[in-house]
Symmetry: C2
């Protein structure tokens, strides 16, 4: 039994992800494809657009066999720590053979040589790096200046992560074999392009637009006649039962009523997301809403306004003394999450770093010397239960399938970690439910998904 693993956010799950799962199977000939997926918050220091259970279901529908939730404190840490903790978790599972990851360069040897360089970090490099960061240059920029031969390679975000995975595999003496796939399609921050492998941020922008419970007038329940003007009301669940076949055949109208905008978004999304994951994620966005960083403005502001000294902020993960001072001194300027992050921006710190720090303040994620792990299984395909059995048998860390029950038996740091996960996940659910004036679901009571 061979297992390949992929570390991902699936924010949201799209064609690119389905493709990498397919390629991972082809390249490794594995029996199972396992995913370590970020929970309700992602590495850019923002909440995920839809919740982890929805994204897990989409992943299972899109070809994954089993999805494990990456704890928030690791999922929202620096690229280096994110990669390290993900690899540590894979190592601990005791049954993973391959780690498959995308990269812009697609050349494992080139990535390996870069990883080797940073693992060794020769003295000259280290000194230069320290000098640059001390002079107020941000870490990514300082690293590029200190190691100019890798500047081009590391200017692509998937290469950066790939190098971190390789460093982590090496530093942990992992037996897991790395496999890289050349990443195709749109860039990381490309907001506008729509194509088969559209960027995740472009897809998120589209999903924002379907965050309404649509009540439309239809001639029939076929989208082809959506604009015929007859007055049959169709509720959101009926709408989503329309197959994506009919979405794809719907006559693509370039006009601007809210209804037409809505369908145009779904039509565009259908080009970027496979059918079943599209329905799952659109249903969730439409019925339960989408979440963005500014939905945490109130929670952040309450924390920021309450502080009586800069030191208060230094307890939180990724908050440096400089940043703590800046947060404190500007605290009454904190009216929204994104505006406050913008206020704090300067050349020595990336916006992503600021976002992560503010998210940790909002979520009360404190720095910790310990790095406990647990493997919370969010979902598994019925035909892949053998993999779950193997993990349960081999894992060095607690395997969580029923949080409410498992929380009672866990002890120490692993228990604290699971408590934190339940807490920040409930907070996500509550923020989302309040927006929709809906009832909050307690994540504690959720069992893992089987499809």
């Amino acid at each position: 039994m061979k297992t390949a693993a992929i570390i991902a956010e699936f924010n949201p799950f799209h064609n690119g992800h389905a493709e990498i799962i397919k390629k991972a199977r082809e390249l490794t000939g594995c029996d199972y494809c396992l995913i370590i997926m970020s929970g309700d918050y992602v590495q850019r220091g923002t909440p995920a657009i839809v919740d982890r259970h929805t994204r897990c279901r989409a992943a299972l529908e899109g070809g994954a066999d089993l999805v494990i939730s990456q704890p928030t404190r690791y999922a929202t840490s620096s690229a280096e720590n994110y990669a390290l903790m993900s690899v540590e978790l894979l190592n601990a599972l005791g049954c993973v053979d391959y780690l498959v990851f995308g990269s812009e360069c697609g050349d494992l040897e080139e990535l390996r040589s870069c990883a080797q360089f940073f693992s060794d970090e020769n003295t000259a490099f280290q000194e230069k790096l320290r000098e640059y960061t001390r002079s107020g240059i941000s870490f990514p920029k300082a690293r590029a200046m200190a190691a100019p031969m890798y500047e081009s390679l590391l200017s692509s975000p998937n290469n950066v992560l790939a190098v971190e995975y390789l460093k982590a595999l090496q530093s942990t003496g992992s037996p897991i074999e790395p496999v890289t796939i050349r990443r195709i399609g749109a860039g990381y921050n490309d907001d506008t392009s729509i194509e088969k492998f559209s960027s995740a941020s472009a897809i998120r922008n589209l999903i924002q637009n379907v965050n309404v419970t649509p009540v439309f007038t239809f001639g029939s329940k076929n989208l082809m006649s959506a604009f015929s003007g007859e007055t049959v009301r169709m509720n959101a669940s009926e709408l989503h039962s329309v197959t994506s076949d009919s979405i794809l055949s719907y006559d693509y109208v370039r006009s601007d009523t809210a209804e037409q905008m809505y369908f145009r978004c779904i039509y565009d999304l259908a080009e970027s997301i496979p059918e079943a994951p599209l329905h799952t994620q659109i249903r969730s966005a439409s019925m339960d809403g989408v979440v963005c960083d500014d939905d945490f403005s109130l929670i952040l502001a309450e924390k920021v306004w309450s502080a009586d000294s800069p030191e208060f902020f230094m307890q939180f993960a990724d908050v440096s003394p400089d940043l703590a001072r800046a947060v404190f001194n500007n605290r009454f300027a904190c009216s929204s999450f994104s505006a406050f992050a913008e206020t704090l921006k300067n050349k020595s710190i990336t916006r992503t770093h600021i976002n992560r720090a503010l998210l940790h303040i909002a979520l009360s994620i404190v720095q910790s010397g310990e790095t406990p792990l647990c493997a919370q299984v969010l979902g598994c395909r019925s035909e892949s239960m053998e993999l779950l059995g193997k993990i349960t048998e081999k894992s060095d860390v607690p395997v969580i399938t029923r949080p409410a029950r498992d929380l009672k038996t866990l002890k120490g740091a692993a228990r604290d970690l699971l408590s934190e996960e339940i807490r920040v996940s409930n907070l996500y659910n509550m923020v989302r439910a309040l927006k929709k004036k809906a009832t909050v679901t307690n994540t504690l009571s959720r069992k893992f998904i089987r499809i």
Copy 2:
């Protein structure tokens, strides 16, 4: 120069309040009528329906000369402490001659004899009270059982406060002379009756219904023709420029469209609130929204879920060890403020006490040995600036007219108190602004109102 003071919440300001100000002037012959008004949160342990600046303006329009904000930690404390801290503040101002308060009984001597009894608190009474509260009976009930001769008197909420004011005047050796006015009109908790002196809770229910930005179809801007069906859009500020004369003459339609409901509410409110305060408060409710305890659900839940022991909750004002344990043990049942308060209800604690405790948890109002005071002036009539001058001259406690400037010069406990006021008031404004998707106003930058 004689000054009469009234301690009140004005939640919202209505005919009963205008009447008590008028009677206070008649009975005392005073030159000025000063108000100590609860800030953005009130004694029932809930946020006020509209913000303190709006209620202050309404009070000035309704006959008050000067309004001072009662700090939240005192405004939301037990009746005994609420009365004591209000009287301490009046004493500190150094220029108040009379304290005028309503009571159901209207007989100062009877109230005084009751106050005297509880001030002396003879040994037999104290022992009984302790015995009853220890056995799990709530404080108000235990007191009634221990002093049955005052049970009837103390079953009326205004008498309870009146007795507390008299106790406070006596215990602080105050030179201020008490004056009571028999309270007329509806009961404290009467939700339905609408009459000239309607209950504040009935009025709040009506104001809830005008918390929409109305876009209606009108024949003209005269409310008489509001339902003629022609399509002239009238925005909220135009609507509120319509005089209450036309509101009063509007044909009272008993039907159920949203527009008719809206106007019926305003019509009903116009019977209970004087014209200028009605416009001020309705404009605020309509444009900026109203606030209720469940708007603090997210902030409360975040705090409650974060706790790692019952002891965490004991730092907050009005949280007893028993209540702290109950909050901790039921923490994952905290989905909304009101539902959680309901969950925690039992015979030994009043719902108001629970509300106050939860509000203090949500607002991070911790217990404190010190009882600092400051007099934040929210507003003053232009013709009453002499009173403000006298207060500034005579006051033993800092007089705050420009919070941003005064915060810089204040020191120690008074500074902490003002900081807390700014923080909880900003939180109120933010909760309100988020509901309306509006921009947050920083209370720090608000000067006092002059009309």
